[in-house]
Amino acid sequence: MSSSAMEAEETADLLCQLDNVQGIVDALSAVRWKRHQDAVIEVSEHGIVLIVEDSGCLQAKVYLQRELFIRYDYSARGRPRFGVGLGLFVDCLSTFSVPGHSNIIEIRYPGPDMQLLLKSIDSLNACIYAEIRTRIPETISWDYDFEPAGSSPLSFTVRSAALKEAIDDLEWPGSGVQITLQPAPPSVMFKGEGHGDLQIEFMYYANTDLLVAFHCDHAVSHRYKYKFLRATTSNLPSNVTKDNRGSKLTIGRGGMLKVQHLVSVARSSATHQHNASGYQQPSRIAYVEFFVKPEVDGDDA
């Protein structure tokens, strides 16, 4: 038996171990915006990427770089991809996270029946394990290629908590939200129109604590569906707002909106150690990105 176990270990495309399950659960939860979501997981020598998509208009990616893992053995040719139910995967992972315990889990792919295998390895006398059935991923329309809109970037960075609050407030008018960037005076405006209208404006010079960075050389304006915009912040883990992090929004060619969040995956014990400036090793961060396509008739209004 042990020899066949060894064999399985050798033939696995991926064998990794991580010591902060809750951090990964937080990062993956950030892209949960509805009950049933199919996710595609892509494994490479750099780490694990999880991709979810909705109605051809919204895509989200979570990057779990190999630095987040305490062990990362990758031995596949090509980049294995497989589909899992996101909700099931996150619920299953969170089973491994015992509050107040440091828990080390091992993830292995593929199992004998192409399953994703998880097991806790921190205790001899108690073991939690899971086998998640994977699917052959559906072909995703890969036209989310994000290209810059011009020679200089159109982007701004806003405190994640403020962004979430603004988007939550825009629920009232519903329907669509117009995002306008203008260089003079440098500002960003969110305008919701539907049952009524609501404008939320971030002035760069007036709110430097909220709007931390701003790059824009010409005015630009695009409309996005509210439900997609809401998905980008609806499930932000609390540590993002608590750590006072910023979210970066960039408008690319054709009005494609990219929203980037940083989610801390620090071990609970390590959070006490980080210094007063709130600096954390970049390796302990999971990157979460959303791509939102604009509404077609709203271009450059």
Binding site: A5, V98, P99, A126, Y129, A130, E131, I132
Partner: protein, 323 residues
């Protein structure tokens, strides 16, 4: 039919903070069965398919000046709403404490009286039975009436007693779990994944829980737990196996039993954790009749079992054919 007693400080501490909140989570209503020696709270003993629980107290653990009489061998049983009972005790205790501080010291005992009464409720012509809590102060008294069912008939009481007797059957092998917190947090999270829990318990001291659906198999294995009753040495060749294979082999050898129970029942039984037991024993009754969980309480500050309190749950086994 008469019942009258004073609830002691210890009784208040047991019921208000520990047992009533836990029992309320199992099911809102339960039977309270009073005999000369015991007060027993019973859930679902008479109707088959729910989670059964039996919390039994020696009279001295709860009451002072206990007086009971009935034509049925001094036994009285009725159904009661636990949340109402809990509220009545909580507020009586509040009043008691206020009075105690006002009248320099003293304890709740001799002040919090419980009795069985029949009263004519407002807008009614029929007298109804109540459990009345009377909190006596210096010059005033606060009375709270908790409605109860009509006391059970002689036949019903003997049926209840028979069910209680048969619920005392012990599994041949029991494994001891100390870290109920860990089990609880695991099962809380597991609940999202499926409805049916496979439980296997071996004579080697392994407790294996598993939920399996078409999409996922999720399990937990707790090994080398202390065993009570029949035990057996685990074969060395099983050591390197996966949890699943190990429990399958133990079942095939006859060293383990496996049953399926509802995840909901299992999670509810873990609510008994709120009674602050010192440990719990898990076992499967003969012929896979049910999964039994026995909670053990120590006398404060010792490792000796407090025999005046007992609590156990029985989880009905699901028929593998029906799900």
């Amino acid at each position: 039919m008469k019942f009258k007693a004073f609830l002691t400080d210890n009784g208040v501490a047991l019921l208000e903070k520990r047992f009533l909140p836990a029992l309320d989570k199992i099911d809102k209503t339960c039977h309270l069965y009073l005999t000369r020696d015991h007060a027993v709270f019973l859930h679902n003993l008479l109707n088959g398919d729910g989670l059964q629980s039996v919390a039994q107290f020696r009279i001295e653990a709860l009451f002072d000046g206990y007086r009971i009489s009935s034509q049925n061998d001094d036994r009285i049983a009725f159904a009661i709403d636990l949340s109402l009972l809990h509220r009545a005790i909580r507020s009586s205790v509040g009043i008691c404490n206020e009075l105690a501080t006002a009248a320099d010291g003293g304890s709740a005992s001799e002040r919090l009286q419980i009795k069985l009464v029949k009263k004519l409720p407002a807008n009614s012509t029929q007298p109804m039975p109540f459990l009345t809590f009377e909190t006596k102060g210096y010059k005033s008294a606060v009375i709270q009436d908790v409605p109860i069912s009509k006391p059970m008939s002689r036949a019903q009481v003997s049926e209840l007693q028979a069910a209680l007797d048969s619920a005392q059957a012990l599994p041949k092998t029991l494994v001891q779990v100390h870290d109920l917190n860990q089990l609880q947090s695991f099962v809380d999270r597991m609940r999202h994944v499926g409805d049916v829990l496979n439980v296997s318990i071996s004579k080697h001291g392994d407790l294996h829980l598993q939920i399996s659906t078409t999409l996922i198999t999720l399990g937990a294995e707790f090994r080398n737990l202390p065993v009570l009753g029949e035990r057996a040495e685990a074969p060395a060749e099983d050591r390197g196996l996966s949890a699943q294979a190990r429990s399958e082999r133990a079942v095939a050898r006859g060293d383990a039993e496996a049953v399926q129970v509802s995840v909901k029942h299992f999670a509810k039984s873990l609510q008994c954790h709120m009674t602050r037991p010192d440990c719990a024993f898990y076992g499967i009754e003969e012929h896979s009749a049910c999964l039994t969980v026995i909670f053990q309480f120590f006398i404060l500050g010792t490792r000796q079992t407090d025999k005046s309190i007992s609590l156990h749950c029985r989880l009905p086994v699901l028929d593998p054919g029906t799900n």
